[in-house]
């Protein structure tokens, strides 16, 4: 499995996801500088990491979406290379149009860093095959702009095509309003592209993929990728 993590100015979870990838898959990813427009042709996975690319100035992810490397990311996605966007990476993928919808400021207007519960809505993906259907997992969030919005046709399409991957829920798996940390539409925490090879999610699976950090619920995501892409 050959993977690359894109490093933008202001990315700050690039090392974290690289550590998790290497820990889970045994392969250290290539750290790819945003200004280098050519990506290796033989990549199996591209990760757009969390952080504050370009300081989140203008709009989260807006400038990174126009970085030199992004046309190559788009071409790779079109070739069915797996693309994983975490937090700021999800925002970037929405800004590029690789995923539908947008991420607005959190409902209560504050940055929020805490563990949340997620319900795995589909295991029919290369990202979640190692989870059980409907499994409730605990994963941290850390964002100011994670409030997912989309118009009604998009929402219906995501639902009909089984493209909602994670929903915020309570410990018992109920997708209540109280369990929704940021006001996201229909408690949506992560979605897939039409071809199911691009996943964007606000929570950080790389932050709980090591028992030393207090949990390993993020690990199956990387294990799923390893199995699908090796």
């Amino acid at each position: 499995m050959k993977s690359a993590v894109i490093v933008f100015p202001g990315s700050n979870c690039d090392r974290d996801v690289a550590v998790s990838l290497e820990r889970t898959t045994g392969h250290a990813p290539l750290m790819h500088w945003h200004g280098d427009s050519a990506l290796p042709e033989d990549l199996d996975l591209i990760v757009i990491p969390g952080g504050f690319s370009y300081g989140d100035y203008l709009r989260c992810g807006a400038m990174a979406a126009r970085a030199a490397v992004m046309p190559a990311v788009r071409r790779a996605a079109d070739r069915s290379v797996a693309v994983l966007g975490i937090c700021n990476g999800f925002q970037v993928l929405c800004e590029t149009g690789l995923l539908p919808g947008a991420l607005m400021r959190n409902r209560d207007l504050r940055f929020l860093c805490k563990d949340v519960y997620l319900r795995v809505e589909t295991t029919d993906t290369i990202f979640t095959s190692h989870y059980g259907p409907g499994q409730v997992i605990r994963i941290p969030i850390a964002h100011h702009d994670g409030n997912y919005v989309a118009d009604l046709p998009t929402q219906c399409m995501l639902e009909d095509e089984d493209r909602v991957v994670f929903r915020y829920c309570d410990a018992g798996g109920k997708t209540t309003d109280e369990a929704n940390p940021n006001g996201s539409l229909d408690n949506i925490a992560g979605i897939l592209s039409e071809e199911r090879n691009v996943l964007g999610l606000m929570p950080h699976p790389e932050r709980l993929a090591d028992p030393r950090l207090g949990g390993t619920d993020g690990q199956p995501l990387f294990a799923s990728l390893l199995e699908a892409l090796s």
Partner: protein, 732 residues
Amino acid sequence: MTEITPEIVAEHGLSPDEYDRVLEILGREPNLTELGIFSVMWSEHCSYKSSKKWLKTLPTSAPWVIQGPGENAGVVDIGDGLTAVFKMESHNHPSFIEPYQGAATGVGGILRDVFTMGARPVANLNALRFGAPDHPKTRHLISGVVAGIGGYGNCVGVPTVGGEVNFHPDYNGNILVNAMTVGIAPADRIFYSKASGVGNPVVYVGSKTGRDGIHGATMASAEFTAESEEKRPTVQVGDPFTEKLLIEACQELMATDAIVAIQDMGAAGLTSSSFEMASKGGLGVALALDRVPMREAGMTPYELMLSESQERMLMVLEPGKEPLAEAIFRKWDLDFAVIGHLTDTGRMVLTWHGDTVADLPIDPLAEAAPEYDRPWTPTPTQAVVDAAVVPEVPWTEALPTLMGSPDLASRRWIWEQYDHMVMGDTVQRPGGDAAVVRIHGTDRGLAMTTDCTPRYVRADPVMGGRQAVAEAWRNLTAVGARPLAVTDNMNFGNPEKPEIMGQFVGACQGLAEACRVLDFPVVSGNVSLYNETEGRAIPPTPTIGGVGVIASLDRMATVAFKAPGEAILVVGETTVPREGGGWLGQSLYLRELCNREVGAPPPVDLEHERAVGDAVRDLIEAGRVSACHDVSDGGLLVAVSEMALAGDLGATLEGLAETPAALFGEDQGRYVVTVPADQVEAVLADLGPLARRIGTTGGAGAAATITLGDASVPLSALREAHEGWLPGVMGA
């Protein structure tokens, strides 16, 4: 050219005596730029003129100390060829005037102090003091300061892992924002600010210089008045994105051999940084100010020298390394300019398009910086409060009140706004005794904490000073760390008042005593004086930031109760059981339930502190305790309740007198630990008179209570009080 009038001298914060010294050094009148340079270099903030005499009395060395005070940050050896680099600094006045930017740039400044030394910052902490919760400004200040700290640290990608918050009406007009950064650097790649090599290029990197923050250092050296809020333009504006780029670019350059010396531009900006580098190296410096990257047109040499624009660094490079360094900074989209070179003249010569605009002798200016032996009066001794005359509120009422009181309630609302997990090494998140960050790539940890109990310091500066150090040491010990060293952030009122100076002198004495006995030297620090508004001083607040090392993360303790049926022990009571026991003077019980802030604070017996702490650390290192928590604010029952809440398990207590003194007394040097039932006899036998059993853990979920005698309080009620208070105040 502007004529220097007595008014202009006064506006620059120089006394007539100090101005006479300027004339003597120069042998002529200064021009405005030169006067500005004297003004900031001799400001309290930069010169420590009131505090130096007493700071010198603090112990600063130990075999593991690599760099003590005097550099950008302190450096201690943490083994395996690595060092911890850390410091705490205040940003009090700016944060009161403009809370978001004031707090944000406080974080930015302390981060730079640490990464300037070659360290990668791995954690931020803070210590905050706000006014009364119901004061009209408090909510605004809390939300601004917290958002500012988060806004900066989150973006830079350094986890904010710990801190402390107090509320007191005497901070209504002068809040305290103390920020601490801890970094890790290889022992053989530490960078210092001492310039060397005549002719070596002096290089400016980072952001462009603008007009923000001019005279920030002078502002930080005067009392507050109602007009202070008009000084909002002297508060700098932070750009954490640029700081993040600066960290990465510096780390990249530091991996080469290009840097001779490096210094961040903090308070007093270009003046202070260039002066300090040249002064430490015994050299001169020539700067062409027109080469400084500028944010706006029409800036003058005066403004360039005094600007406190953020995210800037000054470096001396090895000759010929300019292209290498420039390529790295350009890659990170940062400004890079060779603005001058080192000379052998011992003078600072500034030019502006070829014309000399300032020419000052460096050593005389630095050496002649005023140093005062300010008159001081000792703080009057407070009477010891007789526990027998303190009103008794039933513990079942007192406990929920205390758990939901301003100084004890959960700070979750605050730390959930800080990214405390980025970098993927936070093994103990906020909410415990000390935060623990894994040393990246190893199974060892750094523990860190910030502590001070201002009400103790005000009642007895010596004892309060001791207590601040002892509590930091205790918090590190409680997670199983070996305490290494501290940084001190001395926040006091106007030192020209003898009673305030007396607080400072007393606190230094207490700090020194504790640091000495606990082998816990001061390696860095910051002094913030003139914390007064309209003549009213803050409670003296010598905040201590402590750092320790954990040899194996497998042998680390946390506060949470782990399993039902385990024995709860208190370790460190001086008399067992204490007759009529407990120290209520200056306790939260007295303040929150009797509305009285009186009495002498609890004494700190440093030898006892050390013996108890060492015994507790031995137990943790041997894996013999399942949870550990120090007993501090609120006393024994509060400590037990905090452990119960963290583990969501109740406790049944026995053998405790049902008196406020026994349950809520704030006697020092104590810990609560839990021990599996089958090992309790052995642990008690080993600890002897240091420990006794006070109960058993048990009861989960809705059945969880704190039970003592015939009465009990449901854990859910305590949780509601504890978690509900701050969101209630903030209306969210």
